[in-house]
Amino acid sequence: MSLTSWSTIVFAAAALTSCEGSTNAMQSFDVVFRVESDPGVRLGGARVFVDGESIGETRSDGLLGAELYGRSGQRLRIEHDCPEGYEAPSQPKLLRLRSFHGIDASGSLAMEITLRCRPEKRLAAFIVRAKNGPGIPVLLDGERVARTNGFGVAHFSAWGAAGTELTVQFDTSAQPELRPQLQTRLFTLPDADEIFVIDQSFAPVEQHRKSKRRRTKITKIE
């Protein structure tokens, strides 16, 4: 083997050794933690832990910047505590340290990790549109929460955990000529704030019977 070949091999080995050394060396990594209650809704006051050690709380904009030390490729356990009214997932997240560089060579980029603090309660806004139903009291889980106005419109809201079932009832006891009486609707709160529109038609007894009869006839024709 010629001297040139030997020198090439030695040079390559030296280069490899130097690379190996740099990846194993401790270095700092810029990490930005973003805490959200819902997608896009940032949350302040959440405490972040890296491998069990607290590194600080998110600001009011829901962000926390930190400089973590470790080796490239090292895995870190990320946990967080949520403010009151929010719950953190039970499983911790794992973060693998990596260096990123911008394509415009403006320097290294911070890693960003999003953590979730799920609200314990969800907001449900109800909008009632009662046709021929002005002045009808509306009950939520048996409790009177609103009364329809002159146009049959009523607004009310409720808080509850995701999956909670809510019963909305129209109390027509004061207007016995109206049908249907004590109409009840059941709603399940989703894992997000939501608006429910309740459309309900009322009619006097006679009209109600006629419409029922007519409906029956149509069914027979079909």
Binding site: A124, A125, A146, R147, F151, A154, H155, D193, I195, D199
Partner: protein, 188 residues
């Protein structure tokens, strides 16, 4: 003794027509002059008909443009006044337009209704109409227009928690869907 009627021959009459003096015109000159003038004027008008028509058209155009410009300037002034009024009143023109004498306003009804100074300026029927419109916007899934409407309701009835809750949910829904709030005035 009765004298026969005298026959007079007018010197200026080339045809030497005999004219009974009783029917003779004392002097023809004053009548003929205006007629001649009129004939001259009408001939002049006929000659310059085209030019007069052009001048009339130009004049009409100028007057029309002037009227339009005047109308526009009045509208601009009115608009400026409205903008100034809106700047003075933070709650905006639509809220201001609803303002009425508080003495005539009946108290609001509803489970969560409570009296407050702003809502006292809105009559019951206006409030019901506003609530109905809000329900209609949400019922038709027009959340981006419903949001400013319910913000207005929140301003009018700050103690009505339910309107604030609706605003909260609408904001969350629009954020989730990535929708942009409409510019003021773009909603029906």
């Amino acid at each position: 003794m009765r004298l026969p009627a005298t026959m007079v021959i007018d010197d200026r009459d080339d045809e030497k027509t005999l004219v009974d003096a009783r029917f003779a015109v004392p002097d023809h000159t004053p009548r003929e002059e205006p007629q001649a003038r009129w004939r001259g004027a009408s001939a002049w008008l006929r000659r310059r008909r085209r030019r007069i028509a052009e001048a009339g058209a130009v004049l009409a155009l100028v007057l029309g443009l002037g009227a339009v410009a005047y109308q526009q300037s009045r509208e601009v002034d009115a608009l400026r006044e409205r903008i100034d009024a809106m700047k003075r009143d933070r709650s905006g023109s639509f809220v201001g337009g609803l303002a009425r004498s508080s003495s005539s306003a009946p108290p609001p009804v509803g489970a969560e209704a409570t009296s407050n100074p702003s809502s006292g300026e809105v009559t019951q029927s206006e409030r019901e109409s506003l609530e109905r419109r809000g329900a209609m916007l949400i019922g038709s899934n027009d959340f981006s227009c419903a949001l400013p409407h319910y913000r207005m309701l929140t301003e009018l009835f700050p103690q009505q928690r339910v309107f604030r809750d609706v605003v909260t949910v609408l904001e969350a829904k629009l954020r989730r869907s990535g929708s942009v709030e409409p510019a003021s005035g773009s909603c029906p």
